[in-house]
């Protein structure tokens, strides 16, 4: 349940539908399901297996887990990625979570009924999140988002303080069904919209569904490498594989727990929310009220916080459905953000020998400082965007590649296979051995290569030239952004802290004996 909660997030309801509509859902869904089969599910199983395997040897943190898996002192430094990624992502993700709670509140109170012009909603969002000016959100009169941020921060740490079982899992046990129930309520509302404005008969629900699901020219779509890149990326990030979260959670499992079924269930819960609910709500609803012109060119935040508030304001009972929708997003976000804290806590407890209270306090201080940086440097969301690009994309690719190589080549496919099936009632079809050992790493490296080619170097197929993206030019050259540079410096600072701490932890582990002979610790 906790892993399913971690996987189901904002990307399910906002990013996925936008991508499917953008690239043409016929080709996109083919690429998406292929990526799910040969990338998402295998890495998920590998991560569950590796975590439990190292957990049986007494390791609970990502550096410790890799120390046990690679059986070399350098292993712990590779594993440090699994602590850095979730902790750093938490620093900006919790900010977005605060937007969702804020929007739920403003929807319920009616403050989000801003008329029929989408630019009013855009202006409201820009002021609320401080996208117009650095420091706006902490200045007097504009600090409403900080109030929501403090509430969200407090909720996260109050839950995490109670532990995995009594805190995170207990929250997810009611949070996930509530999220699904709210999504179904909103879905029923959307599917019964019909043609709300008889003067615009083309803006009907059926046409909205068609805009989302009509396949278009599939063969042409599939020839677009960007489509494959985005489909794989969506599967990858949506399932939370390579975050360091699953590997930490699964280290607490017992040998007889069924990780094959658990991994598949968490994946299917995510897919249900993404394709079954997200794919049926967001784009069709936006189309019905705004037409195709209102959707084209809107990114994840544009769709979620500018277009959809306008859409809900035009529905009957706008306050109820708007609040339900944004509270749903808040639940999806908080179940994910909770999972991002546990790897950091596990590392501080295990590596530095801190107790839970101490490690939560230290992590709270660290994440609060990082979050404050993101909140202060909010103009154009530059800090958030830069950290998301280098940590939330680049490092995740790296960790996922390491994970699958460790499973297939270091632990060994046969050993890994045996380990995965301990306590399992399901058998993984044996062709997955080939997929995990050869196809998955190759596919990952190819996607990674594409990503660097297009998203970093900025290859433009139309002009056949390289036009480095803003993520590069923000750091180097005449248009460099001081905020982007400081954001990268913050990432480097976090990495340095975790490496130094890992070195200290390594000395503790070495004293306790090497990973191969280590017995279970209490």
């Amino acid at each position: 349940m906790a892993v399913a909660g971690s996987a189901v997030g904002l990307g399910n309801f906002l990013r996925f539908p936008g991508l499917a509509a953008k690239y043409g859902s016929g080709g996109f869904m083919i690429a998406y399901f292929i990526s799910l089969l040969i990338l998402g599910i295998p890495i998920c199983w590998a991560e569950w297996t590796l975590g439990r395997y190292a957990g049986q040897k007494g390791f609970r943190s990502s550096p410790g887990i890799f120390y046990a898996l690679i059986r070399h002192p350098a292993g712990k430094y590779i594993g440090v990625l699994g602590a850095i990624i979730p902790v750093t992502i938490y620093m900006y993700y919790v900010y977005i979570e605060a937007w969702c709670l804020g929007y739920a509140w403003y929807s319920a109170s009616g403050a989000l009924n801003l008329g029929t012009d989408v630019s009013s909603y855009g202006d409201f969002w820009a002021r609320f999140v401080g996208a117009t000016e650095n420091g706006l959100t902490v200045s007097q009169g504009h600090n409403q988002v900080v109030v929501f941020l403090v509430i969200v921060f407090a909720i996260n740490f109050a839950i995490i303080y109670r532990g995995i079982s009594k805190g995170i899992e207990a929250f997810c046990r009611w949070g996930m069904p509530t999220l699904i129930l709210l999504a179904i309520i909103v879905l029923v509302r959307v599917l019964t919209l019909g043609t709300p404005d008889p003067a615009l008969p083309e803006q009907s629900l059926i046409n909205g569904l068609g805009y989302m699901w009509n396949p278009g020219d599939i063969s042409q779509q599939l020839r677009n490498p960007q489509l494959w890149l985005e489909a794989a990326g969506q599967v990858f990030f949506s399932l939370s594989v390579g975050f360091g979260v699953i590997i930490t959670y699964s280290s607490y499992l017992r040998e007889k727990d069924d990780i094959v079924l658990s991994g598949l269930t968490a994946t299917s819960a995510n897919e249900f929310c993404e394709v079954g609910l997200g794919g049926m709500i967001t784009v069709p609803a936006a189309f019905v009220f705004l037409g195709a012109a209102g959707i084209i060119g809107q990114g994840t935040f544009g769709l979620g916080f500018k277009v959809l508030p306008l859409v809900f304001s035009k529905m009957p009972a706008p306050q109820f459905f708007g609040a339900a929708w944004f509270f749903l997003l808040f639940l999806a976000a908080i179940t994910s953000s909770l999972s991002m804290l546990q790897p950091g806590i596990a590392f501080l407890e295990e590596g530095l020998g801190l107790n839970r209270k101490q490690s939560i306090s230290l992590l709270g201080l660290m994440t609060a400082m990082g979050c404050l940086f993101v909140v202060y440097f909010s103009k154009d969301l530059k800090a958030l965007d830069t950290i998301d690009f280098w940590v939330g994309t680049f490092l995740i690719f790296l960790l996922a590649t390491v994970l699958i190589i460790v499973f297939g080549w270091v632990l060994g496919i046969e050993e890994g296979w045996k380990e995965a099936h301990k306590g399992a009632s399901l058998r993984i079809p044996s062709f997955f051995k080939l997929i995990i050992k050869y196809v998955c790493p190759l596919y990952l490296l190819t996607i990674f290569g594409f990503w660097v080619w297009f998203k970093v170097f900025g290859w433009n197929p139309a002009t056949r030239t390289f036009e480095p993206t803003s993520y590069v030019t923000d750091l180097y050259g005449p248009t460099a952004s001081p905020v982007a540079r400081m954001s990268v410096a913050l990432i480097v600072l976090i990495i340095t802290f975790f490496i130094i701490t890992t070195a200290a932890a390594g000395r503790r582990w070495d004293k306790a004996g090497n990973s191969t002979s280590r017995e279970k610790q209490p």
Binding site: I206, N214, P215, T265, S268, A269, G276, G279
Partner: protein
């Protein structure tokens, strides 16, 4: 909405709903060894 659109939507949504439903069914019907140990037969044998 074209015929292809209907097919695309129905196949995609049905697949994920069926997979999720099947997983939940398997979890709910799975015989858990721990539960058996603490089942009624064990209580009758005088175990905790």
């Amino acid at each position: 909405m074209t015929t292809g659109g209907w097919i695309n939507m129905i196949v995609s949504v049905s697949f994920v709903v069926a997979l999720f439903g099947w997983c939940i069914y398997r979890i709910l019907t799975e015989a858990k060894p721990d539960e058996h140990i603490h089942g009624i037969e064990d209580i009758q044998k005088g175990e905790d």
